[in-house]
């Protein structure tokens, strides 16, 4: 096969080109061509992704060694391969200003991470550096910053997942959105989203990840608000974007802090991980950085307390919910943790603790999401809360050090959750686009394919053997039970409780929708092939994909080494990655979780289908009623966010600022202006008019007065003149005689 692993940028570029073409020409060329362009582009990307995955598998099986390895390592760090310097020296050179030094032996840095690998299982992992290709993006202050692609198992896995689900959604949407008011606009955004998500997962540095992260946020905004004529849709879109923006504060700060912590020279992911895992990392700073980054994860991946946007996001078209809010975008946060695992592992001391914030939030989210799913009447909202709960599982897994478990669950969850969402869409398509479960019922006879796939996916989600969810969820529970050095008991308890809850609420949804009598007003019938075939494919994936990470020893049953833990072998990084313990398959845990899941389904069956059990409890018991109301109001979090925080900011606080601006600040400015005018008036009246002009006029009047006086001498009488003349002459004579 040909090697495109170093040209993977083609994949997101292709989707971006598809976006531009659809944006500018879609309307003109019509809906069929538009959908065709979208589907064709994603198909090509899927094929390329498979090739890339193949390239990567090839690479893992034949890793580069010696000089080639050294060159690759240097290049992977995004540092220019000028000399054969070891990584440690490069980092030293970059961090010398911050006065930190790093262990100079690169072999020991990466060797340490994998010393345990060889011992715990058969089949060692060589340290296989990811394939990194970068170009200079920009320079500031003499530092060059790069933009590039990084391909390893995780990235390849994400590529395939995103492409498959995007392709199925593209195909599904041709029917679901037939006749929609803005069909081409939708497909344009789907292409843009796929391009952004692929760009995100291929990023080689945190700055680029930030760009991709926000771009998928914009696509989410655009797609949630797809039917923007109605305010509630645009409200949901705004809520999604703004809640994510709040989390992004943490993301931005986290990117900045990790950048500076690792020497302030590069955003490169491997550089950050290397620094975090070296012996001289400033763990306190890394802790703050990790927690800030987790802020971003909290909002994007629907963790408590920034999960409130996800259920509202169901206002968008169902295929969007399947693609973005179940399978791909919301896992961007989980991917972030997985990618920067060195930073998190080191900062949160995952290896040595039994309880820390990230694991706790993950566990807590699983429970609150699960509880809320019980009080929903909207099928999509049940699935949304289920997604929140499952995302909690993934975060919890990463938090307890079970990296592969978390990522594996991400992988399997994408498929069965997408199947569930698309199944819900199929149901709604038949029921006049209503998702209200109270108006459904008995659909298993009318929509057999949808029913079958929904059932398979439900069982997978609940974690019933041998479907995919069983394997992935079980690994998470095993990871919590064993932990790294100590067990994460609380998380294990959270996980087990939620296993029960998951089965129960999904059972409730399943029975309300597909069993009993039909309670609605439409005439439901099976959806066309374009809708059902993707469902079948996804359900099939939900069945088989669990086996990609078949444990090494299953109740004593051992498969040959090349068939076990394949997922872990190829996906888990071996380079710039902490040395983590992998919990082996724990039989009692597997049995316990299966019993819990089956128990949950059974309880749901009894309660909802057979109507046994304490029905009407909420009207009899005050406590139950209060609890129910508390759940119905989503823990009053929405009231807090929208009502109190957002409301006071846009309302009283903004108005106060504006009042301050207009009356105080501008009051001063206008006051100065008016005061200047008044002073000018005073100056004019007093100083100018009265005093100065007074003097001017006064002098005039004085002259006139003097003139009036002197006029009296002018009598016109000659004799008087003569007498004055003589008098004057006498005076002069006197002066002449007596003085002179």
């Amino acid at each position: 096969m040909f090697n495109i692993i170093d040209k993977v940028w083609i994949i997101p570029a292709l989707m971006a080109a598809s976006f531009l073409v659809i944006l500018f020409f879609g309307k003109r060329w019509g809906t069929r061509v538009t959908a065709g362009i979208g589907i064709a582009s994603v198909s090509i990307c899927l094929i390329l992704s498979v090739v890339v995955a193949g390239n990567w598998i090839n690479r893992v099986n034949n890793p580069p060694t010696g000089a080639a390895l050294a060159a690759e390592i240097v290049q992977a760090n995004g540092l220019t391969p000028q000399t054969g310097k070891t990584i440690g020296e490069e980092i030293n050179a970059a961090t010398k200003d911050s006065g930190e030094t790093v262990a100079t032996d690169s072999q020991s840095a990466s060797g340490e991470s994998h010393a345990s690998e060889a011992g715990a299982y058969g089949g060692e992992h060589e340290s296989v550096p990811p394939v990194v290709r970068t170009v200079t993006w920009f320079q500031i202050g003499g530092l060059q910053f790069e933009m590039g692609t990084l391909v390893d198992g995780l990235a390849a896995m994400m590529l395939i997942t995103v492409c498959i689900i995007s392709l199925l959604v593209h195909i599904y949407s041709t029917e679901y959105l037939r006749g929609d008011v803005r069909f081409t606009h939708y497909y344009a955004f789907l292409s843009l989203f796929t391009a952004s998500m692929l760009f995100y997962v291929l990023s080689s540095n945190t700055l680029q990840m930030l760009v991709g992260w926000e771009l998928v946020g914009v696509c989410s905004f655009g797609l949630i608000g797809h039917w923007w004529e109605e305010k509630k849709n645009t409200d949901a879109a705004l809520k999604a974007f703004l809640t994510n923006r709040v989390g992004d504060i943490g993301l931005i700060l986290g990117v900045i802090i990790t950048f500076f912590a690792a020497g302030g020279s590069s955003f490169n992911v491997l550089h950050l991980n290397e620094y975090a895992l070296s012996g001289n990392a400033n763990t306190a700073l890394l802790l703050i950085g990790a927690l800030c980054l987790f802020g971003g994860v909290t909002s994007k991946s629907g963790q408590f307390p920034l999960h409130t946007w996800l259920p509202d996001a169901m206002a968008g078209p169902t295929p969007v919910s399947a693609l973005i809010h179940a399978a791909t975008m919301v896992v961007a946060g989980v991917y972030l943790i997985a990618r920067l695992y060195g930073v998190f592992f080191s900062g949160l001391a995952i290896g040595s603790s039994t309880f820390h914030y990230v694991a706790f939030i993950g566990g807590f989210t699983t429970i609150i999401g699960g509880l809320l799913a019980f009080v929903q009447t909207d099928l999509k909202k049940v699935l949304a809360y289920s997604t929140i709960s499952q995302l909690g599982y993934m975060v919890m897994a990463l938090g307890v050090g079970a990296w592969t478990a978390g990522v594996f669950h991400l992988f399997t969850h994408a498929f069965f959750k997408a199947c569930l969402f698309l199944g819900a869409g199929s149901v709604a398509h038949a029921c006049h686009h209503s998702f209200d479960m109270r108006e459904m019922g008995g659909l298993r006879k009318k929509m057999p394919v949808t029913h079958a796939t929904f059932l398979v996916a439900t069982l997978a989600l609940a974690g019933i053997f041998p479907l995919a969810g069983f394997w992935s969820k079980d690994e998470i529970l095993a990871g919590s039970a064993n932990g790294q050095e100590n067990a994460y008991t609380i998380m294990l308890i959270f996980g087990l409780i939620t296993a029960f809850l998951t089965a129960a609420y999904m059972g409730r949804a399943y029975w309300m929708t597909f069993w009993g009598k039909y309670r609605g007003h439409a005439h439901p019938h099976e959806s066309p092939k374009v809708i059902t075939v993707p469902l079948i494919i996804l359900a099939g994936c939900a069945v088989v994909l669990g086996f990609t990470n078949f444990p090494k020893s299953f109740f004593g049953f051992k498969l040959p080494g090349s068939f076990t833990t394949r997922f872990e072998h190829f996906v888990e990084p071996t380079f710039a990655f902490p040395a983590i313990q992998h919990a082996p398959f724990t039989p009692w845990l597997a049995i316990a979780s299966t019993i819990l899941a089956a128990g949950g389904l059974f309880v749901a069956y009894q309660y909802f289908e057979k109507n046994r059990g304490p029905h009407g409890l909420t009207s009899r018991s005050k406590i139950a009623h209060a609890g129910y109301t508390f759940l119905e109001n989503k823990y009053y979090l929405d009231n807090l966010y929208t009502g109190v925080i957002a409301g006071s900011t846009t309302g009283p606080l903004a108005r106060a600022a504006n009042w301050f601006n207009q009356n105080i600040i501008d009051g001063v400015v206008n006051g100065i202006g008016n005061g200047a005018r008044k002073i000018a008036g005073v100056v004019y009246v007093f100083a100018d008019q009265i005093i100065i002009d007074g003097a001017v006029n006064g002098s005039g009047q004085g002259s006139e007065g003097a003139g009036q006086l002197l006029r009296k001498i002018q009598t016109g009488k000659v004799q008087q003149y003569a007498s004055i003349l003589f008098a004057g002459a006498v005076v002069l004579a006197g002066v002449l005689v007596f003085v002179v």
Binding site: W137, K231, L238, I249, T649, N658, V669
Partner: protein, 519 residues
């Protein structure tokens, strides 16, 4: 060619618009077509000269002033005609050269009441001279002259062609900025008299030369330097506009005609920040260091305060005006950190803000033309009535809130990053607090912009405008005027190196001066 450009390039660039204006003066105002063509031709020729300068610019030596002209002007006070371009001025000049022709194209068929294209276009050309002159001047008096030249044309533009309260707004704008300039010239004179002397033709005289003053001003006592910097701070700060000197801006923008708002927002505001980077900080680095925390604090207050006021606005243009206050807060924060990251963020932010807010004001103006109102509560459903306009507004909104991948991000993110590790001896903890608050400011930006867009773009048109035939979509002249800006916003967002590479040398040099002489 290079020699010609070296000696005449900049002078031609700065004064050619005036020549165009003179040519227009003698022709009677009835010949509108002539006036429009001459004005556009003048701005395009100037643009062409600018392109020549940019292609002949040595990008590897962007830290050095190029195309320098140094001639005697007022020998008795040793004020010389010194002009030059370096990496800091070049993006600003490029921005000006782009915006002015686009404004003229936009105005082609829509001059605001009372019409008189002759006077309007002459004023735009005089503005162009003033703006370009300010960005190339390397002598304090020369800079001051060009700085003031832009005031009168804008005063007339607002006062004659503006909205209802135009007299108040134009007078407020003029007097407020003039007050700042008065303090600024006092500061300049103080600099002149207190700095060391240089030998000019055998005689020892003080100097206004911006290139020499950093060295010459080292002898000024700290107290005096603080006062001088304060004078310049007020002068430039009013123009930026910084909180709390910003109140002239909303009124000026709301009442100004569309093109006036665009030029005001895109370029005139940048004169203030440019003054900080070019003059205030390199010449008085010690005082800059003392003032920096205060400037940073006011900048961050401006970010939050501007955003909060935006949330309370009911007039679209006033909302965009307050958003300018908020965005310039990021620019000033970048400047206050006194690092290469910060200053580069500031310059990029200046260009990005110029393009994005200019675009927003263009859209607001076109909205006003069609709806005859900018009252947000009466607008709505633009995406249904005028889809292209709605899309452009949505795009501009996304750019304005600093979405990565579009130009605005590179004005905000490096500024926040720079605040983590400020330069010289600045208080790290204080700046980190500022950093966190500025990051919170990004949420508020998104909030007010998206909320405005939800009310204006989304939804359905209100009853009032449902059947209005005036709501036609984007016209040809609007497309012509807007496409370059839209493309640039995307290109700069994805390839920020276009600007960063140019400014890097000059900013590094400035920070080296600051670190060398300051502290």
């Amino acid at each position: 060619m290079k020699d010609f450009l070296n000696s005449w390039g900049i002078s031609l660039l700065v004064f050619l618009p005036l020549v165009g204006a003179l040519a227009m003066l003698v022709v009677p105002k009835a010949k509108e077509q002539f006036h429009k063509v001459v004005a556009l031709a003048a701005s395009l020729v100037v643009g062409f000269i600018g392109i020549l300068l940019m292609t002949n610019f040595d990008y590897d030596a962007s830290g050095r002033l190029q195309f320098v002209v140094d001639m005697a002007w007022i020998p008795i006070i040793n004020s010389r005609y010194i002009v030059g371009i370096d990496g800091i001025s070049l993006p600003m000049i490029a921005l000006t050269l782009l915006i002015v022709p686009l404004c003229i194209i936009y105005s082609w068929n829509r001059f605001p009441e009372p019409r008189n294209p002759k006077a309007f276009l002459i004023l735009i050309l005089i503005l162009e001279t003033g703006m370009l002159g300010s960005f190339v001047a390397q002598d304090l008096i020369l800079f001051f002259v060009f700085f003031e030249v832009v005031l009168l044309p804008m005063y007339f533009m607002i006062g004659v062609w503006g909205g209802e309260k135009r007299q108040y707004a134009s007078l407020k704008f003029f007097l407020y900025t003039l007050f700042g300039s008065a303090l600024m010239i006092v500061a300049f004179l103080a600099l002149y008299f207190l700095s060391d002397k240089v030998s000019i033709d055998g005689q020892m005289m003080h100097s206004f030369d911006v290139r020499l003053l950093p060295e010459l001003a080292t002898g000024i006592s700290t107290g005096a330097a603080l006062w001088i910097f304060g004078g310049m701070f007020i002068g430039f700060g009013i123009k930026v506009p910084m909180f709390p000197f910003h109140t002239w801006l909303p009124d000026a923008h709301t009442q100004a005609p569309t093109v006036g708002s665009v030029i005001l927002a895109a370029v005139l505001l940048k004169l203030g920040t440019y003054g900080f980077i070019r003059i205030a900080i390199p010449i008085l680095p010690g005082a800059a260091e003392k003032w920096a925390p205060f400037i940073g604090l006011l900048a961050v207050i401006g970010i939050i305060y501007g955003a909060l006021c935006c949330l309370a606005q009911t007039d679209m243009k006033r909302l965009i005006a307050f958003s300018s206050v908020s965005h310039m807060g990021f620019v000033m924060l970048g400047i206050a950190t006194l690092t290469t990251f910060g200053l580069q963020a500031a310059i990029f932010g200046m260009v990005a803000h110029g393009l994005i807010t200019g675009m927003l004001f263009f859209v607001a103006g076109s909205t006003k033309d069609r709806y005859h109102t900018l009252d947000i509560s009466r607008l709505g459903g633009m995406l249904k009535s005028m889809p292209h306009m709605g899309w452009i507004l949505g795009f501009s909104v996304m750019a304005s809130l600093g979405l990565p991948g579009l130009a605005g991000f590179w004005g905000e993110f490096p500024a926040i990053l720079a605040a983590y590790e400020p330069g010289l001896g600045l208080n790290v903890a204080f700046f980190r607090v500022l950093m966190v608050v500025a990051a919170i400011g990004t949420v508020l930006s998104a909030a007010y912009l998206l909320w405005m867009y939800q009310r204006v773009g989304f939804g359905v048109p209100s009853k009032e405008f449902e059947e209005d035939p005036h709501l036609h979509d984007v016209t040809f002249s609007e497309w012509l005027a807007w496409t370059p800006i839209l493309i640039l916003i995307v290109v700069l967002g994805f390839v920020p190196n276009i600007i960063f590479k140019v400014t890097d040398g000059a900013v590094s040099r400035t920070i080296a001066i600051v670190n060398g002489l300051g502290g």
